[in-house]
Symmetry: C2
Subunit: 256 residues, 2 copies
């Protein structure tokens, strides 16, 4: 099968223009079919604050009320997405921006209210694989922001790691898929105070052990859950890495 | 040749959700190839104000400084574009949002500084006709916002009427093109105080006469210049109309 790379970028990498440029340079050098998925960084939070919309977070996840949905759609699908697309066009990558609503690419469902009401948060139901593959075969490099829709006119805020996982999983029937979660560190660290303490690999067996030992915690847990989910769904290679890992073997590799 | 409708919507039609819904319902009923182009309404101005960015206007045109560019990109390409795409998906129109940067669809050039420095305002240089036509043939309904790029990483703010004119003109070699500028009135009014005083048709010969008489003024002049430009460029039918004119003969028709 032909190779496909799904690169998710987030955190500080989308907040600083110089880091973003470096990421996009590396991304453009991937000389096979590729998809970029980006988070929004802290710009949405800053704009919410400046507009007087108080941030609501529970367990590190944003609660998306109606006003917040407007802001995240503006920032993710508007500014960040178009900035990335225009920068990729500059370096001759035929990029095209997508939310899940565009071409009905990612259908999601508003998260049902149990203990917590996450507001307009979307859980992915279906990727339009055939539609997406048409663009890929045509030489388009899709750039996805973290906004989806429910098919009934409602936009939804969806975690960018989950979007990358869903796209990679859905395309694993057609491609040999490499999924890279790229952020400001060079991989999963054994010691968060030591940037060189990167795990070379993590097997599923060790995942719960590392959590119990308190070595893996916070936002890294859902990220790694996505990594293992992708492998279960048939994605061929999954790693968490930094910019240096985009075109090298560097980073933390995951295995079932 | 196969028919194609380019519908531009602006002003109050994109500001009120109920009017927007009515427009999109009418748009979805056009049962041949179609493109929607939308302005941003006053939301960008409101958000600029709330963020403390003072609006700068000269001759009814916005001066786009760096901060304003961020806001218009957020509002036009982010919120308004994705709202429209998700609403069209709801009524089973396979819509897809575009800025000029996406797929390099509209290349523009930063307006050169003569008497007035318009800032990051873009004058259109080239429409990617072949790329765009591929999506049209594939059943996609493109939804364009009023943001373009210069191919060198710079996003630019571009008048939505001009975008509609450029798209319609570029596609007139492949389709029988109908270009409709749709706004809150039912057409060009002979008397702005009387909504029923709609011109049935205006010929180019009468255009300068109507200006001299002060009957056509303000923002209507560049809109009508676009209308005649489109006819010169080969667009087959051009009119300015209201919602009722989208699927009827109503509105002001233009002829050379």
């Amino acid at each position: 099968m032909k190779p496909l790379t799904v690169l998710k970028i987030g955190g500080k990498l989308v907040e600083s223009e110089s880091e973003l440029n470096e990421v996009l340079q590396q991304f453009s050098k991937i000389n096979h079919t590729k998809i970029l998925v980006h988070g929004g960084g802290k710009m949405a939070t800053e704009i919410c604050e400046r507009l007087g919309i108080p941030p609501k977070m529970v367990n590190g996840r944003r609660i998306t009320d109606e006003k917040t949905l407007k802001v995240v759609t503006m920032v993710y699908a508007g500014w960040t997405n178009k900035l990335i697309v225009s920068q990729l066009q500059k370096i001759k990558t035929q990029a095209m921006g997508f939310s899940g609503a565009d071409g009905n690419m990612i259908l999601a469902k508003k998260r049902s209210v149990k203990e917590i009401d996450y507001g307009f948060a979307g859980d992915i139901q279906k990727v339009n694989v055939e539609g997406l593959n048409k663009w890929l075969l045509d030489g388009i490099t899709p750039v996805f922001c973290a906004i989806t829709h429910d098919g009934n006119g409602q936009l939804l805020n969806t975690n960018a790691d989950t979007i990358a996982t869903s796209l990679a999983s859905a395309l694993s029937s057609k491609y040999h898929v490499r999924l890279n979660f790229c952020f400001e560190k060079e991989g999963v660290l054994a010691n968060t105070a030591d940037d060189t303490s990167v795990f070379r690999m993590i097997q599923y067996d060790n995942f719960s052990k590392l959590q119990k030992q308190g070595i893996i915690k916070g936002g890294m847990i859902p990220k790694m859950e996505n990594a293992f989910q992708a492998l279960v769904a048939g994605v061929n290679e999954v790693k968490i890495c930094g910019i240096l890992g985009i075109n090298s073997d560097k980073g933390t590799h995951f295995y079932l």
